[in-house]
């Protein structure tokens, strides 16, 4: 039995009487007087006298065209048949945020078990909705075992983009494929057609870490900052314990966030823990001392008035070391014939004799890391006029310019190293007295450091991606996650991206180098359980599509194939019989 999803489309059947009318008008015979009907008598027919009508020939073309119109109307009405063979496909979106750890994950997990027990294998697909939604699948392209689904569903992400996950599902599934969202909160608005929203959350009071940072300091220590927030309607008390034995009692007003500072020994990881409550995952953080890669700088400057400001600026940076042999950055005021090698970037300071003092406005390429944080307001920058000598040979793109006069330009060499050309006459400039001067030097060093082997960040939030730059000869990086599982990640263009899904410490091995990465579930919106709730918001067109009886199959394609077949016969008849219209 065929059902239709859009009965109004059957109004197209009114075209059939129109077709019949057209045929009837066409069949109005033209009169023609002939000498005799003798030769029009067919041999098998007996002669008859008087008025007579010719028997109507079979109207095959009319019947075929009528059939095409009827089938097209049926196809437009979205026909479907009840199929007793397979379940209707279902897409399930799983909220992967760590707020689900407050009980919603377990309750939603039971729902997953029910679904997979009720439905045929291979008809249910899952999307994990974290910061970047992705499909859950095994080697067969889908997961049919509840255990495997629940194992992959960790619910540890610091954010969950459910809307993007639904959009991901729509990209692959047919328009009418139902989607089921399992989460711990109400939908921001009524679910769209075909989406059913089931929430398993419960409102509760909670306190947890919402921010944690660690920075290196001199003398073998580092400074730790912890933010603890209360998401309760009443005053709460919590105990903070550090892994080095220290503890502190905290009293938090409703909605209050407290920032705590600690000193910690360098080179040791520090763990901080709060007394347990409704959500335990945000009650613990681990911080690793960040190890910034050291940048070897060779200062090869002859002019005193150039070297001194540069030396002063470099001295404020702890992570640079003097390096004349194979430096990472060479700063010079000499004319350089043989420019930077593959691993040495060059900052060439050009002091011109004939100069002008430029007071701005200065034009800066804000997309370049070298200009980050610079304002140059009130600075006098003395440099030569025009593009300067050697500009054509340098051929770099301007990063800082005074009108059409390039002051700082940068070029990438074929071997990947960079050459920065800096036109600056310190005698007539006030640039070196401004905060922008050390900031410019710092930007140069930070920019170079970002291209040295090492982690972009040492402490990240769960669900985020940390970037590890490796040496040229390193092809893979072995990563051991906090659970102890190991995987090998391939380096692409010298970069490996590590997704920190689980909280804890990751150990990375890249050739001879070793790194550690700490991931923590830090997200205020996830720790706040006050708005969590349970409920069902049903946008499905038919009740409970998960039941076996509600299975249907779209057969519009069958109807359209039949239309094509009829059109083929129609064309063949016309060609064969030489029938004109």
């Amino acid at each position: 039995m065929v059902f239709v999803g859009l009965p109004l489309a059957l109004l197209a059947l009114t075209s059939i009487p129109i077709l019949a009318a057209i045929y009837w008008l066409r069949r109005q015979h033209r009169q023609r007087v002939v000498s005799s009907l003798v030769l029009w008598e067919m041999p098998a027919q007996a002669r008859r006298g008087g008025m007579q009508l010719e028997a109507v020939r079979a109207p095959w073309l009319f019947l075929l065209e009528m059939g095409v119109l009827a089938l097209l109307a049926l196809a437009a009405a979205q026909p479907w048949v009840v199929s007793g063979v397979r379940d209707e496909p279902l897409i399930v979106v799983l909220d992967d945020s760590f707020s689900m750890q407050a009980g919603a994950r377990e309750r939603a997990g039971e729902r997953v078990r029910e679904l997979l027990a009720e439905r045929e294998a291979g008809t249910t697909r899952f999307i994990l909705a974290g910061a970047r939604p992705r499909w859950l699948s095994d080697d067969r392209g889908r997961l049919d075992e509840a255990g495997a689904v629940l194992e992959a569903w960790m619910a540890l992400s610091s954010e969950s983009d459910l809307e993007q996950a639904i959009a991901l599902g729509r990209e692959v599934a047919a328009t009418h494929t139902p989607m089921l969202v399992l989460t711990d909160r109400a939908p921001p608005e009524e679910p769209t057609r075909g989406v059913r929203w089931e929430a398993f959350g419960e409102a509760a009071a909670n306190a947890g870490f919402v921010n944690a940072t660690r920075s290196s300091r001199e003398a073998g220590t580092s400074r730790v900052m912890l933010e603890v927030a209360s998401f309760a309607e009443v005053e709460i008390e919590r105990t903070l314990r550090l892994s080095d034995g220290r503890s502190r009692e905290l009293t938090l007003e409703p909605g209050q966030t407290r920032r705590l500072w600690f000193e910690a020994p360098a080179r040791e990881s520090l763990e901080a823990e709060l007394s347990p409550d409704a959500l335990s995952v945000d009650d613990r953080v681990v911080l690793i001392e960040p190890r910034l890669a050291r940048v070897r700088v060779a200062l090869d400057v002859q002019r005193e008035d150039v070297r001194q400001p540069l030396q002063r600026a470099l001295s404020t940076m702890e992570t640079i070391v003097p390096g004349d042999a194979r430096p990472d950055v060479r700063i010079t005021d000499r004319p350089v014939a043989d420019e930077a090698g593959a691993t040495t970037w060059l900052l060439q300071v050009i002091v011109e004799e004939s100069t002008r003092g430029y007071v701005g406005p200065f034009v800066m390429d804000r997309s370049h890391p070298l200009t980050e944080g610079l304002s140059l307001e009130g600075a006098i920058w003395a440099a030569g006029e025009g593009e300067g000598a050697g500009a054509a040979a340098h051929g770099g793109r301007p990063l800082i310019a005074a009108g059409n006069v390039p002051l700082v330009s940068e070029r990438t060499q074929p071997n990947g190293s960079r050459v920065v050309r800096w036109r600056w006459q310190p005698e007539h400039s006030t640039l070196q007295q401004k905060a922008d001067f050390p900031a410019l030097v710092w930007n140069l060093i930070a920019w170079r450091r970002a291209h040295l082997p090492g982690l972009s960040e040492t402490n990240v939030r769960c669900g985020r991606v940390a970037t590890l730059r490796v040496d040229e000869d390193v092809e893979t990086v072995r990563v051991m996650d906090p659970r102890g599982a190991t995987e090998a990640l391939a380096a692409v263009d010298g970069v490996v991206r590590v997704e920190a899904r689980w909280p804890g410490v990751y150990d990375l091995a890249a050739g001879n180098r070793r790194y550690q990465l700490a991931a923590n579930p830090l997200a205020a919106e996830q720790s706040d359980l006050r708005e969590k709730e349970s409920g069902v918001w049903d946008g499905w067109e038919r009740p409970d599509v998960t039941e076996e009886s509600q299975r249907h199959r779209d057969v519009a394609w069958v109807v359209l194939l039949a239309v094509l077949g009829l059109l083929g016969v129609h064309g063949w008849l016309i060609a064969r019989q030489g029938w004109g219209w």
Binding site: R30, L37, V38, L39, W40, E41, M42, M51, Q577
Partner: protein
């Protein structure tokens, strides 16, 4: 309007007679060389004789000299019979023109071509010293040249007959005498078997020539589509869907019809020719008649 159409129609067939007369002035009738057992066996002479010897009887036709009526034969048979003499018997040609409505099919040149050919043959007969009688077979066999021997002066009634020449012969009897050369000009589009007609037509004839005059649209069926075909003579109609296969079957019927007539004419020792009216008036190609020795070039 009807008068104008009638005047125009008269103008066209009169032009056709003139054209036929003009063309026929270059030809002469050739006497038939082959005598079939179906004929009376009389050999016509090439030129009129001077004998007044009584030869035969024929049925009285209006216009005949009343002094020739054989009252004795009338007393015996109750039929008016006319005596015929030698100079009437040979040489003479009877032109039998099918005057049915199909021969004047609108939009064709059948009537004009028929009259033109008749005029041509009449002139050719005159050039050979033949006597000529032209008969229009419409409601009856009506003589059309008795008052004016020259074709251009013939008074031709309308082609409005609704019977075939064969049925007309059955109803009215032949108006011609024996031992004449008879030429039938018709489209032959009637369903009766040709043999009986040919035997009656050739009865006591010195020779028989049958010319089938068809219009171009008789030879090629009309355009395709849904048509109501109306018989010009009977008024019957048929609604047909004329497509490629219908056209093919029409042509097969035409060829079969012509083949039957050809066979029948051969069987009675007659000569048959086919002409297309429009082509005749355009080209005046009379070579078939010359080659079959009906005509000869003067």
């Amino acid at each position: 309007m009807a008068k104008r159409e009638a005047a125009h129609g008269e103008e066209t067939w009169r032009d056709a007679l003139q054209a036929g007369e003009r063309v026929g002035s270059g030809y002469a009738l050739a006497p038939p060389r082959r005598v079939s057992a179906g004929f009376s066996g009389v050999q016509l002479a090439d030129r009129p004789g001077s004998s007044i010897e009584f030869m035969d009887y024929r049925a009285y036709q209006p216009g005949d000299d009343l002094r020739r009526i054989d009252w004795s034969a009338y007393g015996r048979s109750d039929r008016l019979m006319v005596k015929m003499y030698h100079e009437e018997v040979s040489p003479h040609v009877d032109l039998v023109i099918d005057g049915s409505r199909s021969m004047a099919l609108a939009g064709t040149a059948k009537r004009e071509a028929t009259l033109a050919l008749a005029g041509c043959l009449a002139m050719a007969a005159a050039n050979s010293g033949y006597g000529c009688a032209a008969w229009l077979a419409s409601e009856r066999f009506e003589p059309i040249n008795h008052a004016a021997p020259r074709p251009s002066r013939w008074e031709v009634p309308a082609f409005d007959g609704d019977r075939s020449v064969g049925r007309l012969l059955e109803a009215c009897g032949p108006p011609w005498r024996g031992r004449t050369l008879r030429v039938l000009i018709s489209d032959l589009l009637w369903p009766e078997e040709p043999t009986m007609l040919l035997r009656r037509l050739g009865e006591r004839a010195a020779g028989l020539v049958v010319v089938q005059m068809l219009a171009a649209e008789d030879v090629q069926p009309p355009e395709t589509g849904h048509l109501r075909l109306i018989d010009s003579e009977t008024g019957q109609w048929r609604e047909l869907v004329v497509d490629a296969s219908m056209r093919q079957r029409y042509l097969e019927n035409l060829h079969a019809h012509q083949a039957r007539w050809a066979e029948a004419t051969r069987a009675v020792g007659a000569v048959m020719h086919r002409m297309v009216a429009e082509s005749l008036l355009e080209a005046w190609d009379l070579r078939p008649l010359v080659e079959s020795q009906v005509l000869r070039v003067k």
